[in-house]
Symmetry: C2
């Protein structure tokens, strides 16, 4: 998905949110905003939003060094999600359609996104999601039957992770698949907001149920032109790709191969682009 | 109130909203965003937000000429508010404390602000406001008793208008005052978002109950350094000043004379600055 003008105010919001984690000094926040402002005229709407985020991250790295200022938030997300893990497994165990419930759980996990929403009570939101979204007549686009069918003919599944904490929910889905499919779980290469890294995947035990690799990208989205050749080989060869979250949707919705996108729609731009409403769940294969 | 870094994303939002009224062409929207971005590094946080808005308006004027693209919105707001006028007068007539009810109505009118909120059902919101905010134990800072006392010793009242439509609600308050006080009603000098101009004041009949003047300012706030000398004389000499809305609060909260601010708090920055919560009503005299 290319960048829309409506994304521009959001770039500044994200930069400010990051800046506040780096320092409490408002003068430095202003300098950060000034630097982001200088990027805007050079940035083409033909690029994807994660490409702008990547430039902003480089700007932060240049200024503050290689630090992971979201580490505390990510650790907390992982811990809180791990606490919910037994309950999630129970939901699957009690389900008539284990795969369906596991897919729903994976989407539910996508609300753990501090980039899109700063404060939230995960437990409450998850419970609300299960009550509202996953009842018959659920909101949004949810092409589960196609997904199940495509999975039936696949052997390898490439699973593109989104946020820390959320990956515990992904693990529940992966555990339903890993006995019959080869799962490659893909994390970001370098700290980028609250996105999951290798250390998060290990902390949440994903490495016990899947092969975990890095995409090679230091942006909050799988921008193919910056991915490692190792990743690109897997990306090309995988029978089925599951892409989690808005950042990966933005980076890959126009790519040349089929991808299943699983996410919770959090912004009006993605809602419009995907034919959804803000707040909707989204499971759909896009082929360009 | 000076500008806070949190205002910067909002500048872009406002510029985009304005840009969309000027043209549907996204490439021009991007060019507008680029031009606003170029202003940011030059803009000091020591200035007030309406000063930035003024610069953005000048940019629009340079690009699109002297056009009033909010005219349609303002006309509609005026018309819709005029329809409510008999109902508002009835509320006052039935009240045990006519002045209190008229003050509440004037604050209620401040929700008519397309700059802060794009779409809203005025009638519904007003009704909700009367039910929620103006009941005993109402939310926010509401120093009505001080206001009433200060009014008792005043002879001339300078009333700084905010938005079109809203001024019909101001008229209800002014009609409670105009028999005993000299009221000078102040509008913006040039089109600036949906702010009230002389033509709006005349359309809504304010000129029948008050002297209507322009502040001389072409910004969505009464920025004293750009005001006309005629206005500044009235500003200095008035016994009591009523300032409506966020824009005037931003422009005048640090000024050297006493001002009563009447508004509905719509953004977190003003909430923090005024010791309120978003959604609160606010009636308070500030003296620096």
């Amino acid at each position: 998905m290319r960048t829309f003008v409506e994304c521009i105010p959001c770039f500044f919001k994200q930069a400010l949110e990051m800046g506040k984690l780096f320092t409490g000094n408002e003068l430095i926040h202003k300098e950060i905003m000034d630097e982001v402002a200088r990027l805007i005229p050079k940035f083409s709407l033909g690029l994807t939003p994660p490409e702008m985020a990547r430039e902003m991250h480089q700007l932060f790295r240049k200024r503050f060094g290689e630090q992971d200022f979201y580490k505390g938030i990510k650790d907390q997300s992982n811990r809180r999600a791990m606490k919910l893990y037994p309950k999630l497994k129970e939901k699957v165990a009690q389900s008539n359609d284990r795969l369906l419930t596991a897919v729903e759980i994976a989407i539910a996990g996508n609300i753990i996104d501090y980039a899109a929403k700063s404060t939230l009570n995960i437990e409450e939101e998850i419970e609300k999601l299960f009550q509202d979204d996953f009842t018959p007549g659920k909101k949004g686009i949810f092409e589960y039957e196609d997904f199940r069918k495509d999975l039936g003919t696949a052997k390898t599944v490439l699973y593109l992770a989104d946020n820390a904490g959320e990956i515990v929910f992904d693990r529940v889905l992966i555990e339903e698949l890993c006995d019959n499919w080869k799962i490659i779980f893909v994390v970001r290469d370098k700290p980028t907001i609250n996105d999951a890294l290798m250390e998060d995947a290990i902390l949440c035990g994903i490495n016990e149920v899947a092969q975990v690799i890095s995409s090679g990208v230091d942006a909050p989205g799988t921008i193919l032109k910056y991915c490692s050749s190792e990743f690109l080989k897997d990306f090309k060869e995988a029978d089925l790709i599951i892409s989690k979250g808005q950042g990966n949707y933005e980076a890959l919705s126009d790519c040349s191969r089929e991808v299943y996108f699983l996410l919770k729609v959090k912004c009006p731009v993605i809602a419009r682009h995907s034919g959804s409403m803000v707040g909707d769940i989204f499971l759909k294969k896009i082929r360009n």
